[in-house]
């Protein structure tokens, strides 16, 4: 994506008179200021969180301590030594990776079928999955999984997280496959590949970037998911949002520790956002979904 291009603010075809140019330059300056302010409004709360994670508890609760202070790693040391956060991050990683991989295996071929054969009525089933509130499934799931003795297991966490990621990945990938020229597959078929072979050897490799984006988003939403783990995880299988939530109740005065834990679980997501910004925005705007 290109940076610069401030002169693009000049609408093509507009007469080039001096007062207009001046007004336009003023407009560009105003626009820049507005964008800067808005960006700061969205960025500063998170900056505040990162800063607080490196403050002592006295500094955290003293608003006059701004962003200039001597940072300490004590908060991180204490929460890591407490242990649960590390185990939870492992759990979140495990559940996130397994549910995302399984979802991609299910959703990508399905998205190909819907996108390639214009099966939009079937595809709208996915829309239903987006509309249904997760909690209206949580009740029957809980009922059924409790009877099967599965509550607290990784299996249930993976399955419940797939509820979010299967529709998400399908949503993104349908438009991706629909956008691939069908001629490529037809040519491959004429050259002797089977229908599945054309998908496997031609379309799937071409869809790899889209699949990567969709999977990364699915992983992030799994990492963030709170409600399913709140119900289905036990102490052993707890994921990070639940651990963080439990922190509030028994360590409500330990703001430094809370912010360190919040930072610890947000950093991977922020890294993903910084590194994959372009692709994630494309994925979000084509898929436009969240749990």
């Amino acid at each position: 994506m290109s940076a610069t291009v401030s002169r693009a603010t000049r609408p093509s075809g507009a007469p080039h008179t001096a007062p207009r140019a001046r007004r336009r330059r003023g407009g560009a300056w105003l626009r820049g200021t507005a964008i800067t302010i808005v960006t700061l409004v969205f960025a500063l709360p998170l900056v505040w969180m990162f800063a607080a994670a490196f403050k002592t508890n006295v500094q955290v609760t003293d608003p006059s301590v701004g962003l200039w202070f001597r940072p300490t790693l004590d908060n991180f040391r204490s929460i890591v030594e407490a242990g649960q956060i590390v185990r939870s991050m492992g759990n979140s990683l495990l559940v996130g990776v397994v549910s995302t991989v399984l979802s991609a295996v299910i959703a990508v071929p399905a998205a190909w079928a819907v996108g390639r054969f214009n099966m939009h009525r079937t595809g709208s089933l996915i829309l239903v999955a987006r509309i249904v509130p997760a909690i209206s499934l949580l009740v029957p799931w809980y009922y059924l999984f409790a009877r099967m003795g599965l509550v607290g297991s990784y299996t249930v966490l993976v399955l419940s997280h797939m509820f979010v990621s299967v529709p998400l990945i399908m949503w993104i990938m349908i438009s991706f496959f629909a956008g691939l020229p069908v001629e490529l597959e037809e040519a491959a078929r004429t050259d002797g590949l089977s229908a599945f072979g054309a998908f496997w050897r031609i379309s799937l490799p071409l869809a790899a970037p889209g699949t990567a984006t969709a999977s990364l988003l699915a992983f992030v939403f799994s990492w963030n998911n709170f409600m399913f783990a709140l119900v289905f995880a036990d102490d052993r299988t707890q994921t990070v949002p639940v651990t963080l939530f439990n922190f509030i109740s028994y360590a409500s005065t330990d703001w430094g520790g809370l912010m360190a834990a919040a930072t610890l679980i947000t950093v991977p997501v922020v890294l993903a956002a910084v590194l994959g910004q372009k692709y994630l925005v494309a994925g979000l705007t084509s898929g436009a979904t969240k749990g």
Binding site: I131, V240, T266
Partner: protein
């Protein structure tokens, strides 16, 4: 899914296994495709059936029973009594429904207006666009529970930076999440902080796909900036706007994480942020009123579907 599609697929004779004569190839392609597409869809359909359709049917059945307490306790069908109980409940159900609506409408309207303004602002490329987009995507991806806790710190009535800043510009101290009356509006503002970027990115994506000619024509005709926006850009942006609105409204209706993380079970001491989502959660996992909870969920789901249908129809008419 339409049943005709299924039966058509089933009725298809198995295509010949291997090399078909050249002349018959197009038909074979077709037949192979038809069989393959259902094979490719099967795992996803199975998942949707087992994890979504069947549980929803179970919820529907559960809503007609007096299920309560342990999940393996007996239950019997009691007709529509749970629905009657929910609809007559003016203490928890109706206030929760009202809060759900107020939260959704308030937050989504603000997010749409701000998101559109910001998208227009960012429409033409500028230096640093990449960084601005990165900043905008972070609130969308950040863990909601972490965001909730972060705002608890910022909005803390005594030690928070928010009141410190308000005092600095001479405004009175606010209780924010510490008070019954301010909690819901505060959470709406947090939602606006978190989701306005989503609106911006969606609308920005829509704006970049618009053709330039109509706007240039309007410019030649002497339309000013507002007129071009109101009469040229906005109508063309309609479909994107409608889609974004539906998606955001559906998600806002279902908001749970931040409400629960900041105010806890029941949405606070006076149920002040208890939406239908939080209410149904409490009914199920705190009170174990499974039957009643299922009835509330059926009503809630119908409510959401109603909103979607309404928004889509209105959006559709506007763009027709």
């Amino acid at each position: 899914m339409s049943t005709t599609e299924v039966s058509a697929a089933r009725a298809t004779p198995r295509p010949p296994q291997t090399t078909a004569p050249r002349a018959r190839r197009p038909r074979t392609f077709d037949q192979a495709n038809r069989r393959l597409k259902w094979m490719m869809l099967a795992p996803a359909l199975l998942f949707v059936g087992l994890m979504i359709v069947f549980p929803l049917a179970f919820t529907l059945d559960l809503s007609l029973t007096d299920a309560f307490g342990a999940v393996n306790a007996g239950k019997s069908h009691i007709g529509l009594r749970n629905f009657a109980d929910a609809l007559e409940d003016t203490r928890r159900f109706w206030p929760a429904a009202r809060r759900t609506l107020v939260f959704t409408v308030g937050a989504v309207v603000l997010e749409t207006v701000l998101g559109l303004a910001l998208a227009m602002l960012m429409r033409k490329p500028f230096r640093g666009m990449r960084w601005v987009r990165t900043v905008l995507i972070i609130p969308l991806l950040a863990t909601p529970v972490a965001i909730g806790i972060l705002w608890l710190l910022i909005l803390d009535p005594t030690n928070g930076i928010a009141n410190h800043l308000l005092a600095a510009v001479g405004l009175p101290r606010q209780e924010f999440l510490g008070s019954v009356s301010q909690s819901l509006p505060t959470l709406m503002l947090i939602d606006v902080w978190q989701w306005t970027p989503m609106m911006t990115l969606l609308l920005l994506a829509g704006l970049t796909t618009l053709p330039e000619e109509p706007e240039e024509a309007a410019l030649v005709d002497g339309a000013n900036g507002w007129q071009r926006f109101r009469h040229v850009i906005l109508p063309m942006l309609g479909p994107t706007l409608a889609t974004a609105l539906v998606l955001r409204a559906v998600d806002a209706l279902k908001t749970f994480d931040i409400l629960y993380a900041t105010k806890g079970a029941g949405g606070g001491s006076d149920f002040e942020v208890e939406t239908l989502n939080v209410y149904a959660y409490g009914l199920t996992f705190d009170y174990q009123e499974y039957g009643l909870a299922a009835a509330v969920l059926v009503l809630f789901t119908l409510f959401i579907i109603g909103v979607v249908v309404l928004l889509r129809r209105r959006g559709g008419r506007k763009n027709a």
